[in-house]
Symmetry: C2
Subunit: 477 residues, 2 copies
C-alpha cells in the first residue's frame, strides 16, 4: 500500500473504534470516495497576513485542493478540497464568555485536525466550546462532501454529505446526510438523514424531519455509494468552472468591484454580476448573473444564480439561490436550496429567516411576505403556509407547537432574537456596516492576505501526500 | 527600523568584520541596491520531487523572487531573485573523491546560506570542498547582480556584479565585477575587476586581465552605485518579459517541445524558437528566435537570441549568444557575451571552447574555426588572432606563454582535457545523451518537480520578510 492508502486505513480504524457502539463502519464511505479522488492533481494553499498569528503544521497528510487560513495543524489526515477557515480564531489575552464567567485565553487558538478524513468539507473556526478555548479540535472524524463543521469540536464522528454541525461539541456520533444539528452537545447519538434540530438547554427546541422519500430525490448517500440527487448534480455540473479558476493559479488578494467589497480570486464570477459596496464573496462561492446589494455576502460553497439580493443579505455556507429576488437582510441558512425558475420565480420579503437546510423548489411563482420564518420543503403556496410563520405570530408562542413535520418547544421571541443577533454579528464580522473608516470586517481585511501554494508528491510511494511543513511567524531573530 | 532593515544591517556588519583587513565596506553596495528592490512584491518558490531528499528551512529571511531546489537552509539572509539550485547535492552513502581518497558522506548534503545578501545571484550546488562534504555553506557573504557561486564554499566574501566563483573555496576575499576565479582556494585576496583566473595547484595557471577602460563600457560598479554598462542594460530591457512569466504564477512542470526535452515554465520563450530532443532550458533562461539542436542547453540567466546552436552545445550560466551560429559541442563559458549583428554575424566551428567571461562584440562578420580556445575581448579578425589558439597548437604548450593580456603556464594538453571532460560531464548530467531509456539527466528528471509558491508579509513591521518555514520529507508516520 502507498503512504496515502495506509493513512486512509489508519483513519478508518480510528473512527470505527469511536463509533463501535453505533456499529457504524466509515470504511465503506472513505474507500468508496477515494478511487474517484486524484489527490496528487490538486495544490493546496494557505493564507498569510501580518495581522494574524501564523502557524501551520502539516504532517503525514494529504491536503489536495484545500484552503487553510489562520493557525492550523493537520496531522495524519486527508483533506480533499476542504476549506479550513481559521479567521475567527480567538487570540491570547481575549476572554471566552461562558455562563457569565470570563475565561481568559492563555494562548492563541489553533485548529487541530488529527486522524481525520474531510472530503469537500467546510470548517469554520468560530468555536464555542468553553472546555478547550485554545484548541479547536477535529479528531478521528470522517466528513462527506459539502458537510459543514461550524465552530464545533468534533471527535470520533461521521458527518454525512450536506450535513451541518453548528456550534456544537460532538463526540462519537453519526450525523447523516442533510441533517443540521445545533444542540450544544451531542454524545453517542445517531441522527438520521434530513433532521433539522436546534436545541438550547431544556428551554428551546426546534425540530423538522424531512420525508425521506422526498429528501432522497435531492440528496442521498448509503454506505458504499457516492452521494446522489439533485443537490449533488447541481454542484457537479458547475465543478468545471472552479477547475478553471484554480488552474490559473490565482493569487489574487481579493480586490473588490466596489468600495469596501472583497471578491476572492478563487470564486467563480460569471454573467452579468454586480458587486456592491462591502460585499464579501468567499473562495468557492459561485455567482452567475447575480446582483449583490450593499453589505450582502456569499460564503463558501454558495451559488447565487440569476438572482438579486438587496442590502445586508447573509447567505450562509452552502446556500443556493436561483431565480430569486431577496429583499433586505434576508438570512439564508446553511445548505439551503432556494430554486425558482424563469416561469416560477421566488420573491422573499425583507428580514425573512430561511432556516438552515430548507428546500424551496418551485412549481409556481411564490412570494414569501416580509418578516417570516421559513423551513422544510416548499414547492407552492400551500407548502409555504404549512412551512412558515410570521415573526409576529411566532413571538407569541410559549410552549409546544406542531406544524406538519415541525415541532417547536419553548418561547418564540427569544428564539427569533437569538437568530437576529447572530445575523447582525455575521454582518458585522463580514464588514457589511463598514463606513469607510469604522466597522472593518472580512470584506475589508481579506485584502491583506497573500496565498501560498503547496503541492503534493507527484509519484512514487508518497504520491498525493505532502511533505512535513511547519510555518511560524518571523520574529526578527 | 523594520525587520528587513535590521536584517540588512546585521548582514553588513558581519561581512565587514570578515573583510576588515581588506578595509572593504559592503554597506555601500547593500544599501544602494535595496531602495530599488521591492521585497514584498515577489513570491519565492521551491521545488518538490519524490526522487530528491526534501529539506527547507527558512528563518528570519527574505526570499523575494528566489527559486530554491534541493535541501536548503536560509537563515538570517536576504535573497533577491536568486536561484539556489541544489539539484547536484551529494547524498548520504555516496563518496567524495579527493586525492584518490574516498570520503563517505554521513548525511545528505545541504546548502546553508547564513547572514548573507545575494542579489540576483546564481548558486549551483556541485560543490568540491572535501573539508565539508555534507554542507555547502555560504556565510557572511554579499553577492551582486548576476554573480555566480558555483559549487564554492563561500565565507566572509564580496562577489561583484557578473563575477563568478567556480569550484573554489573562498574566505574573506573580494572578487570584483566580471572577474572569474577557479583557483581551488582563495583566502584574504582582493581580485580586481575583469580578471579571468584559473589555477590548479602549481602546475596550471591561465590568467587574462581586461583593459579596465574597455571593461567599464560593458560592466562597472563602484561603491555606492548600481552596476552599469552594456551588460546591465542588456538584461534590464528584457526584465519585463520575465515579470510577465512570473506574474502568471506558472506551475508548469517543464514539459518539453521534443522528446526528452525540458523547458522551464519560468523561462522566456519568444519568436520562432525551436527546441530539439534532450534540450534543457532552465528557469530564467531567455530564448528569442533560437534554434536549439539535440542535447544543447540554456542554463539560468542565459540569453539566446536570433541564433542557431547545433548539437550538444553547453551555454553556462549567464552566457549570452546573439546573432550567432554555433556548430556542434560548443562550450560557452559563464557570463560570456557573444554578440554578432545581422550585418556582422558570428559563426563558431565545432568543438570550440569559449572561456568564461569572454566578450565578443562584432564590428565585422567573424568565423571562429573549429577546435579553437577563445578568450578575452574580440571585435574583429585581428582581435580573434590575438585571443585564440587552435587546440593543436595549444596541446604543444609546455611552460609559459603570453599572448597580449593573457598568460598561460603549464601543459596545454591536460588543461584542454580537463575542459573537455567537464563539458562531457555537464552534457551527461543535463541528459543530452538520453536515448529514450538510458542516460537520463536534468532535462528528463525536471519533469517530476512541482513548484510551491511562498509569499512574504505584505505590511507592517515584517513587510518583505517570510515566516519561519520548515519542510521535511513525509515518511508516512
Amino acid at each position: 500500500m502507498t503512504q496515502l492508502e495506509l493513512l486512509l486505513e489508519r483513519i478508518i480504524d480510528r473512527v470505527n473504534v469511536n463509533l463501535r457502539h453505533q456499529k457504524f463502519d466509515v470504511g465503506d464511505y472513505v474507500r468508496r470516495q477515494t478511487p474517484h479522488l486524484h489527490y496528487s492533481k490538486f495544490y493546496a494553499f494557505y493564507g498569510l497576513s501580518a495581522d494574524d498569528p501564523v502557524h501551520f503544521h502539516f504532517k503525514n497528510s494529504s491536503l489536495a485542493g484545500s484552503y487553510l487560513l489562520g493557525r492550523v495543524n493537520v496531522l495524519h489526515s486527508a483533506l480533499y478540497k476542504s476549506d479550513i477557515r481559521g479567521d475567527e480564531l480567538k487570540r491570547k489575552g481575549q476572554h471566552f464568555v461562558c455562563d457569565g464567567k470570563m475565561i481568559p485565553l492563555h494562548d492563541d487558538e489553533v485548529i487541530t485536525i488529527k486522524d481525520s478524513f474531510l472530503n469537500k468539507t467546510l470548517v469554520h473556526s468560530n468555536s464555542h466550546d468553553p472546555e478547550s478555548p485554545e484548541e479547536f479540535t477535529i479528531r478521528n472524524t470522517v466528513a462527506m462532501p459539502y458537510a459543514n463543521i461550524h465552530g464545533s469540536l468534533t471527535e470520533g464522528s461521521f458527518i454525512g454529505s450536506f450535513a451541518t454541525v453548528d456550534l456544537s461539541t460532538i463526540h462519537n456520533s453519526v450525523v447523516r446526510y442533510f441533517s443540521y444539528v445545533q444542540t450544544g452537545e451531542l454524545v453517542g447519538k445517531c441522527v438520521e438523514p434530513g433532521q433539522i434540530w436546534i436545541k438550547s438547554g431544556d428551554e428551546l427546541e426546534f425540530h423538522y424531519s424531512f420525508d425521506k422519500a422526498i429528501l432522497d430525490k435531492y440528496i442521498s448517500q448509503e454506505a458504499g455509494s457516492c452521494p446522489t440527487g439533485v443537490l449533488m448534480e447541481f454542484v457537479e455540473v458547475r465543478q468545471e468552472d472552479f477547475e478553471e479558476v484554480f488552474a490559473s493559479g490565482h493569487m489574487a488578494s481579493g480586490a473588490g468591484s466596489a468600495s469596501g467589497a472583497s471578491v476572492s480570486g478563487y470564486a467563480v464570477i460569471k454573467g452579468d454580476t454586480v458587486i456592491g459596496e462591502n460585499v464579501l464573496v468567499s473562495q468557492r462561492a459561485y455567482l452567475d448573473n447575480a446582483w449583490m446589494g450593499k453589505g450582502s455576502n456569499a460564503q463558501e460553497n454558495c451559488y447565487i444564480i440569476n438572482s438579486r439580493l438587496e442590502r445586508n443579505c447573509v447567505t450562509a455556507h452552502g446556500g443556493k439561490i436561483i431565480n430569486a429576488h431577496l429583499g433586505d437582510m434576508i438570512f439564508t441558512g446553511f445548505n439551503s436550496f432556494l430554486q425558482g425558475s424563469e416561469s416560477s420565480p421566488l420573491k422573499i420579503g425583507d428580514g425573512c429567516v430561511v432556516m438552515p437546510h430548507t428546500i424551496i423548489d418551485l412549481e409556481e411563482p411564490l412570494e414569501i411576505p416580509a418578516g417570516h420564518l421559513v423551513w422544510g420543503y416548499i414547492r407552492n403556496k400551500a407548502d409555504l403556509a404549512a412551512h412558515s410563520i410570521s415573526f409576529e405570530e411566532f413571538a407569541k408562542v410559549d410552549g409546544e407547537v406542531t406544524m406538519g413535520r415541525m415541532t417547536f418547544r419553548g418561547k418564540g421571541g427569544p428564539f427569533l432574537d437569538s437568530f437576529k443577533k447572530r445575523i447582525k454579528r455575521i454582518l458585522s464580522e463580514n464588514g457589511a456596516f463598514f463606513d469607510g473608516s469604522e466597522g472593518t470586517g472580512h470584506a475589508q481585511k481579506g485584502k491583506n492576505f497573500t496565498f501560498n501554494i503547496i503541492q503534493p508528491y507527484q509519484d512514487g510511494d508518497p504520491r498525493g501526500m505532502y511533505p512535513t511543513i511547519l510555518i511560524q511567524p518571523n520574529n526578527g531573530s
